[in-house]
């Protein structure tokens, strides 16, 4: 129990460490948020702009100011989107990315686990051949090929789904598939691997020896243990899914957070970038805790 308390207490410390690391690393980058294609009208105008965002203060002060605001839950004003605060941007976009990520997670698990299980059971047969072809395609067809391909066939060709934009039921199908298939292929590989390991282990032989039916053996003794590597993989995967994917959001013009990860970097929107990193970090910590709890629940021997 104590270790869990410590881990929870470590979260703010981790957030602080990440914020500090990120704050100073970002400042080492070439270029800055106020470098623009069109030079400012005058030096005074540029100075006024810098002063507005406290850019004229020493770096140490800026850092303390940032931490002070952070402690109050204020991530500061966005340096690029000048009519929005970072909190405001996150509040608008996080729900979208969470929805898309959760849907893609369902696809990844719902497709990946069965495919993994069946390919492990039907080793050498057509089930394995089919599933390994599927996973192969999932692994080596990048999102920026898979997405346009799905759009070309199912939206522009067959006209089953809308081509882009976020909204009602059918709009979610193609982005969910694009994002989900990529992860489903990975889940299937891990699941299959877990199954193969477990199928050889003595406790399965023992279960069989006790005269349990094959289905019962698989469901009660094999699958839960085989889920272990998948579950280890789940935490980071879910964090990636829920914080949005740059490529998928860009392709389907979805107003999620994924675009900010890349765009804020290229526009040197330091406050937005740090907001994104801290959000990701927090989510990851929560998921990582959840994963470890889940691992222990599946296999009580861990961490005892």
């Amino acid at each position: 129990m104590r270790s869990w308390v410590i881990r929870l207490a470590a979260v703010p410390v981790l957030l602080w460490a990440v914020a500090t690391l990120c704050f100073f690393l970002l400042r080492a980058l070439p270029g800055g948020p106020f470098d623009r294609e069109r030079a400012a009208a005058s030096r005074e105008v540029e100075a006024a702009l810098r002063a507005r965002y406290h850019w004229d203060e020493p770096l140490g002060w800026q850092y303390l100011r940032y931490l002070g605001n952070l402690a109050r839950g204020d991530l500061g004003p966005s340096l690029k989107y000048r009519n929005h605060s970072v909190n405001d941007l996150l509040a608008q976009t996080v729900p979208v990315s969470l929805s898309l990520g959760a849907l893609a997670f369902v696809v990844a698990m719902g497709l990946g686990i069965p495919v993994g299980v069946f390919s492990a059971l039907g080793r050498g047969g057509w089930a394995e051949a089919t599933s390994s072809l599927l996973t192969l395609l999932g692994v080596c067809v990048p999102v920026f090929v898979l997405g346009p391909l799905l759009v070309l066939v199912f939206a522009l060709g067959l006209d089953w789904f809308p081509v882009a934009l976020w909204g009602g039921g059918s709009r979610a199908v193609l982005p969910t598939l694009t994002l989900g298939l990529y992860f489903a292929a990975r889940v299937a590989r891990w699941m299959r691997e877990g199954m193969l390991e477990v199928l050889r282990s003595p406790h399965v032989q023992a279960a069989r020896a006790r005269g349990l039916g094959e289905a019962a053996v698989i469901l009660r003794h094999v699958v839960p243990v085989a889920l272990l590597p998948v579950v280890s993989y789940t935490g980071p995967m879910l964090a990636d899914l829920l914080t949005g994917s740059f490529l998928v959001e860009n392709l389907f013009q979805i107003p999620g957070t994924g675009a900010f990860f890349v765009n804020s970097f290229f526009s040197r929107d330091y406050t937005l970038m740090m907001g994104m990193v801290l959000f990701y970090c927090l989510l990851l910590q929560v998921l990582s805790l959840a994963t470890d709890l889940l691992l222990r629940w599946i296999d009580p021997r861990i961490g005892s």
């Binding site: 270790s3 080492a28 980058l29 199928l199 970097f265 691992l295």
Partner: protein, 307 residues
């Protein structure tokens, strides 16, 4: 158990050679390596040379057609293969070495060490991959490239590639460490490893002889996932202007270029099909070799763990 003829390695090799798919895979990989090594030289076509027939479909002059500058696609695919193989292999190796080392030590040590090591992974993983890699590459360009260019101007392209491989490898080991640690945690409570520990087997031997064989499946799967992931990530970086420099090509950048052919107006299929097809074949070969290796080292009958 007497004589080299029946050593486990020999037996495994025999079993591996029986697996036709795996043999085909390894032959293909060898061929790809060979092509990447001497192909561009054999072909004798400058992959960067602009030609007089831009966007020509595959034909007698250009077997894979040409791109918008009239450059020969076959020549570009061959040099791209070279770079991508290097990036994939080094990136995966970096992440493999760090990931397995970290995961095993953490999982085997347990307790406080485990907790601290995992917090380390947490800290690194708390920076999203894409941010980490963008930061790394941009800082390398801004802070190191100029310094290096003064000292070793000729080696700069290679150093830049090296920086990218290290950047990619150093983020992809984290998942590996997590998975390996999870496996190690589970395995070390198994009777055969408990027994080995109780018997006082020295750590290195404990790791090499007892633990590693049981992790090999996970490691192989991981490798077959990481190599393509690293290769494709490189193309994403190039897309952002942080990867290989034009006019250099990698399979990833060629595929990214070709992806724009997926439009409803006009499709120049060769720009996508050849690089993507080669990539798929490579990965299929890699997977089948991985499968073959695993099957070869797996004792028949499947009774009990390999120890």
């Amino acid at each position: 158990m007497s004589g080299p003829a029946s050593s486990p390695g020999r037996l495994a090799l025999g079993r591996f050679l029986e697996d036709r798919l795996a043999v085909a895979g390894i032959v293909f990989l060898a061929l790809a390596l060979l092509l990447a090594g001497i192909g561009p030289g054999l072909l004798g076509v400058d992959p960067d040379r602009a030609g007089e027939s831009p966007l020509a479909p595959p034909g007698a002059g250009h077997w894979m057609g040409t791109d918008i500058h009239g450059r020969d696609l076959l020549a570009r695919v061959l040099v791209g293969l070279r770079i991508s193989l290097a990036v994939g292999a080094v990136g995966a190796a970096v992440s493999l070495l760090i990931g397995v080392g970290w995961g095993v030590v953490s999982g085997a040590a347990g307790g406080r060490t485990d907790a601290w090591m995992m917090r380390g992974v947490d800290l690194l993983q708390a920076l999203p991959t894409v941010v980490w890699v963008m930061l790394g590459m941009t800082l390398f360009e801004a802070r190191c490239a100029g310094w290096l260019a003064e000292r070793w101007p000729a080696a700069l392209p290679a150093l830049r590639l090296g920086a990218m491989m290290i950047c990619l490898g150093s983020v992809s080991w984290l998942t590996m460490a997590r998975v390996i640690r999870g496996q190690t945690l589970a395995l070390r409570e198994r009777p055969f490893l408990l027994a080995a520990t109780a018997l006082g087997v020295p750590p290195v031997r404990w790791f090499l002889r007892h633990l590693l064989p049981n992790l090999s499946g996970v490691i192989l799967v991981y490798l077959t996932l990481t190599v393509p992931a690293v290769v494709l990530y490189e193309s994403f970086l190039s897309f952002l202007g942080l990867g290989v420099r034009p006019p250099q090509a990698s399979l990833g950048t060629l595929i990214a270029d070709g992806a724009s052919q997926l439009n409803p107006i006009r499709v120049r299929w060769w720009l996508l099909v050849f690089p993507a097809g080669l990539m798929a074949l490579l990965l299929a070969a890699l997977t089948s070799v991985g499968e073959g290796l695993r099957a070869a080292f797996e004792p028949r009958g499947g009774d009990g763990p390999r120890a």
